[in-house]
Each structure stands twice: as structure tokens, then as C-alpha cells.
Amino acid sequence: MSKLIDENGVRLDGRRFDELRPIKIEVGVVKNADGSAYIEFGKNKIVAAVYGPREAHPKHLSLPDRAIIRCRYHMSPFSTEERKPPQPTRREIEISLVLRRAMECAVFLEEYPRSIIDVYVEVLQSDGGSRCASITAVSAALADSGISMRDLIVGCAVGKADGQLILDLNDKEDKEGQCDMPVAYMPNLEKITLLQFDGAFTEDEFKKAIELAIMGNRKIYDILRKTLTERYFKTGDEK
């Protein structure tokens, strides 16, 4: 197995251990959706679209006291190196679920009882850490749609490669590294809404990893904030 970090502490793609990949976020990209966002997270390219709140169909799904969220995370057949069959895989079903649960913490569901919020996430190109990039895109799309949210959510992964903690793993580091831990975070409330873990950390490493993830998330949050501010307050006029 090749080394993931060289003797100077530089990773395969030239980043330091605590450096993020380049991030670009756009809001309002899907015209027919109520809210939408596009994110480029390194080589990840993801579109998220929000429809609703709208009447729940089939009706028996709806709840009398709050809205429900229906999330579909899907990877396009051309998004991976080898063609991926278009039907949902176990992994995609799992990610749809964890994204939904992460969102449910932030969205004020009680404001829209008996309704449904549909969230669609389409991965056009993937390169590791797509669930974290997806949650960032989804929260931008939700904010764009004007659905009440307690806070924005941002996500980024931490992991371990060659015995060292690293931030924001790419595909190779994810597959060949020793550890992978995606963390989604609400920066204002300082709460974690998604935490998955694969590999082994010592207790000390785990604490450091969480700190590193939060630091990374704060950087992503700044970018997300800037994007939303530019989109909505571009003219600098408050009238």
C-alpha cells in the first residue's frame, strides 16, 4: 500500500493534515425547486433540491403535529470511476437516512404539521466525503427555500492515515486510511447532528478528531455564510 502522507506531512493531493479541499457553493440552481444548492467539494459535485413543505401523499404518511422529511440521496451512474447501476444501493439508502436524521434536528418541523418536505440529493461526481458535502448542500437548499431552521448544518470528515489525524478525507484516504469519521455540525448551537465512525481511534485521538472536525466545519460554515449573504444581500441595500 502506498503512503498517504509523505515525510514532510503533505498528503497525496498536496494538502496539510488540517486543510480542506477547495469548496464552491451556489444557491438557487434548480429553477423549479422551492430551494436548491450546488456544491463542489474538491472533486465532489452535488446538487440538492428541496420541494415543499407540501401536502403529504400518500396521506397516511403525514403526522398531525409536525412535518415529515423524505430524503433521497442518489449517485448518478456516471458519478464514480466504474459505472454505478442506477438503482439505490444499501449505501445510498443508509445515507438518505442519516441525512434525513441530521436535517430533522435543524428544521422546525412543528411549524408545518401534516405536510411533507421532499429533499433530493444527486451526486454528479464523487470523491469521498460526499455525505458531508451533501449535508452542507442540503442545508443551503433548505435555507434558500425559506423553511424555518434552527441553524445551518455543515459537514466534514476526519480520519486517520499513516497514524496521523487528517481532515476532509478524499476517496483514496477514505479507502486506504485507518479511520473515517463524518461529522455534521450546527455551528451556532454547537451541536453535532451526524456522527458516523468506521475504524479505530484511541480516546485521546477521538477527542482531538472531534476538535479537528469542528474546526473544519467552522471554515465550511464561513463559506456557506458568505454564499448565502451574497445571494440574498448582494446589493448591500437593506430596503
Partner: protein, 225 residues
């Protein structure tokens, strides 16, 4: 009295929570007030207001709305008011107390696809909104072109004391029926309607620009009817 205006995103701290009921589009943790939406927070001494810049239409009692009939049964019409819930217009509201499902036919008054101006009488989150048309200015809309605008931008279309709507109406020789739910019916000569819709689209696009009234004025003067 000074009004402080700040731009807020969801989760942003607005200020210390004021006493009294919670302002719309905000929530409270301890004694701090946070924003739920992207918008502008207006902080006065004792009052906080948050004007959202996007979002779905949530019905409120006494709102003037423009809706489309989507279904009818023996006792009521179902009206799409561009919200997450369908509104109901009871037949008694139209036919009076003597309404009988045997002697009256709902189809005579409103057919599916008809557009109406109505007012919301009751609404809470447990039940669908109820409409009435028993007030002057309400009822069936026979002529005109319906246009949709984001509900959060409706105040911008109306303008201060109705200034923006007045400009559009006078310059395009049309009449605007503006529902708070973001549905607008434009009535008048065809070329006026086209121009008015153009103006509405411009408002939708540039809702945050301060000199929007002038911009609309220029557009309408240049292409005036």
C-alpha cells in the same frame, strides 16, 4: 426611536429576547432570540421584527388571498391558495343560511379552475384554512391574468402605502389584485398586462435593491403603453 436593521441567516443570534410573545420567524433559547430564516431583523427598543426574504406562504387570519378552485363536493369548494394546505370555502358562505345541497348546485357559482379573491376567516395549524367571500371586493375574478410571485416579496410589490402598485397600475393602465399568498391577477388591456408582468418579474428578481421604485418607473416610462 432608532431602528437597527441587521441581516440574519438561520441560527443567527438577533438580540436578547423581548418580553411578550415571540416574534414571527424567530425562536428562543434561554433569554436569547435567534433567527429561523434568511431575512432582515428590525430591532427596536421593545419590539423585534424579522422580515423573511424567502419562504412558503403560511396562512394568517384576515389575509386577503387569491385562490383557484381545485375541487368541490356537496358542501364546500377546495381552493388552492398557493400554500401548503388547501383552503375550504363553505357553500353556506355563498348561498346563505338557507343553503341546501338538494336545491343548490355548487357548480353554478364556482367551477373547477375559477379564480376568486377571498379572505381567510379561521386557520390554525391543526385545521385547514376557511375562506369567506362575503365582504366587498371579494368574490369571483372573471377577467385578468394570474401571476405568481414569491409570497415574501408581496410587500415589495405593494410598496410603501401602496406606492409601487400605484405606479404599475397607472403606467400600464391595468388593475392589480394582489393576494397576500403571492398570487396576483392583472386586469386590463393585453399590452398593459404584458408590461405589468414584466415589472412584477423585475421586482421578484431585484427585491433587495433600494431604488427599485425608480427602476420600475424607468422601465414603465420607457416601454409605456
Amino acid at each position: 426611536m432608532t431602528v437597527v436593521r441587521t441581516k440574519v441567516l438561520p441560527g443567527d443570534l438577533i438580540c436578547d429576547a423581548p418580553s411578550g410573545p415571540l416574534p414571527l420567524n424567530t425562536y428562543r433559547i434561554g433569554n436569547k432570540l435567534y433567527s429561523l430564516k434568511i431575512g432582515l431583523a428590525e430591532i427596536e427598543e421593545k419590539e423585534v421584527k424579522l422580515i423573511p426574504l424567502s419562504g412558503p406562504y403560511v396562512p394568517r387570519i384576515n389575509d386577503f388571498v387569491v385562490g383557484t378552485v381545485v375541487d368541490l363536493n356537496a358542501f364546500a369548494w377546495d381552493v388552492d391558495i398557493n400554500s401548503l394546505y388547501l383552503a375550504h370555502l363553505p357553500a353556506q358562505d355563498v348561498f346563505g343560511r338557507n343553503f341546501s345541497s338538494i336545491s343548490h348546485s355548487l357548480n353554478e357559482q364556482f367551477k373547477i379552475g375559477d379564480i376568486m379573491a377571498a379572505k381567510i376567516v379561521t386557520y390554525d395549524r391543526t385545521r385547514d384554512p376557511l375562506l369567506t367571500i362575503r365582504e366587498p371586493g371579494l368574490g369571483k375574478i372573471i377577467r385578468g391574468e394570474p401571476v405568481k410571485l414569491s409570497p415574501s416579496k408581496v410587500p415589495r410589490l405593494i410598496g410603501k402605502k401602496g406606492s409601487m402598485a400605484k405606479i404599475i397600475e397607472s403606467k400600464t393602465r391595468t388593475k392589480l389584485i394582489i393576494g397576500q399568498n403571492g398570487v396576483i391577477v392583472v386586469q386590463g388591456p393585453p399590452e398593459g398586462i404584458v408590461l405589468a408582468i414584466k415589472a412584477i418579474r423585475l421586482i421578484e428578481e431585484k427585491a433587495q435593491v433600494a431604488s427599485l421604485t425608480n427602476m420600475i418607473n424607468d422601465l414603465l416610462t420607457k416601454e409605456g403603453v
